[in-house]
Symmetry: none
Subunit: 280 residues, 2 copies
DNA sequence: GCCAAGCTAGAATAAAAATTCCAAAATCAC
DNA sequence: GTGATTTTGGAATTTTTATTCTAGCTTGGC
């Protein structure tokens, strides 16, 4: 009997290394059926679970059926899950060193290599985050949330290195349907007059304070708006405006900082405000 | 019928941690029978094999019978090998597993206070940073730096929640006098034609990928520019473009993430590029 | 050297896991 | 819409793996 139909997907050889696996995954993931893609994403996000998990466990984690896992493995060129797991297990021992040792190893190279620099930023970011819980006054934070939740429109002011913070706030507010305006200073158009008495302002600035942020906040205060300040020390120029101050002390690496703590504070603030507004 | 004989070794409870396990091992190893001692030595020398090995494999490695392995496990207070392996596996990935459940819980209950939410973001940020050192491939990072240092002009593409990242990159490059263009999509003006063959692109996008970022990167690649992708998984659409991929897996709190890891990676990348360019 | 106590090897059994299969559902082309 | 094709979910099957059992061996005391 002649071979009327051949395998739709010819027997590809299995990837020989983890890198090869992910490379293939990257190029095939596009045109994979729904469930298989779903599982592919899960694997891409949690490769470290493969060596120590059963088919059933991974299937549950990715919220697919075990048979989908099998089909995925075969699609990737393995005979089955066992073969794929074997590959992942062979690579497993390299990952064993934990965070601390890895960090130490990277640091040995000084700041010569990009990885060492990355390790530096990671470590500094972790410290800054840890600090954040002590520098931010819970009462002030709650006040800030109250004020912002009550405001008609929220205005965000922050330039240069504070701009990533305000732009992320803008994104978050938009996603939660909170009326908010990002004052980006674009085309030097001054939109201070938009700030009305029932509005509130989030001003973000760090030493050396950008004059324009201070000016705009001052003007807004004069218009009767409430000010929430995200800044680094109590002596910042925003203190004079009776602003509610949220303090972040972010450590520098060289001339730059990772902004980890500042952004965490910002997003926590935004989500709280969003929750409180929608609750009412 | 009375219980004439009792277990020679009363049912001890299993060690709760790896440390407790090795402590018990140290104190009991002396007066263990020959084969069991032999296996104990093997375990002490190769603890990292336990999570990924079967009884038969370990038995062969230690040159004992599988049944000896079982007796060893029971001697150490476990019900069997499976229970012991569970302990070794749980130690291997302590940080990650229970996060998903914890965050799910958070999503249900909502968060009581802004401070609690902040603490959540801080915690998740710290984990993400730790993880960053494992997901970013040092070689790829170095390649990315090389490519970007060599480029005439660096273009940054990233919208919505990726925009804080690109805007911070823009700030950093400007401060270091690196020629860089932030494609903000402002006024819907398309500046793709600015991207020339000797240029390089940093594309930042996360699932669900914004189509415009992918389109712009594709166009840039067609123009002959190199692409560095900051994204979350290898299955991202940018993989097709032969982009140098820098992977960040950032945990979500609710619908948002703190971006701590992503920004740390971005700033480390920028500073490395700046340093390398000025060195030449 | 003989006996008792404990230990070991290997086979037998039970449990768990991987893998296959197929009917039902979804998707696609017309 | 209709039929062909692909994809899916779930159960059935096979394979692998853990665990138990027991006859024989080793060791130590006398």
């Amino acid at each position: 009997m002649p071979d009327t139909e051949s395998d739709p997907c010819p027997p590809t050889s299995p990837p020989a290394t983890i890198d090869a696996f992910f490379e293939r995954l990257g190029s095939t993931a596009e045109h994979l059926p729904k469930r298989l893609k779903q599982f592919a994403d899960f694997i891409a996000a949690n490769p470290d679970r493969v060596p120590v998990s059963t088919v059933a466990e991974l299937a549950e984690g990715a919220d697919v059926q075990p048979s989908a896992v099998m089909r995925f493995c075969q699609e990737m060129g393995f005979s089955g899950y066992s073969q794929m797991q074997k590959l992942f297990r062979s690579d497993y021992s390299q990952k064993w060193p934990d965070y601390t040792t890895r960090l130490a190893k990277l640091r040995e190279h000084g700041t010569e290599t990009p990885s060492a620099l990355l390790a530096e930023f990671v470590e500094v970011g972790r410290s800054s985050l840890e600090n954040l819980l002590t520098t931010v006054d819970p009462v002030a934070l709650q006040q800030a949330v109250d004020v912002l939740a009550r405001a008609e429109t929220i205005h965000m002011i922050g330039f240069r290195r504070a701009f990533p913070v305000t732009s992320y706030l803008a994104y978050a507010f938009e996603k939660m349907n909170v009326p908010a305006v990002l004052h980006s200073g674009i085309a030097n158009i001054n939109m201070e007059h938009l700030i009305r008495p029932n509005d509130a302002v989030i001003a973000v600035t760090f030493a050396p304070y950008s004059q324009i942020t201070v000016d705009m906040a001052t003007q807004a205060r004069r218009n009767g708006a409430d000010i929430v300040a995200i800044t680094d020390v109590v002596t910042s120029p925003l203190a004079r405006l009776k602003a509610i101050q949220l303090l972040v002390s972010e450590l520098d690496v060289g001339a730059f900082r990772a902004l980890s703590a500042t952004l965490s504070l910002a997003i926590a603030l935004a989500v709280s405000v969003g929750a409180q507004r929608n609750r009412i």
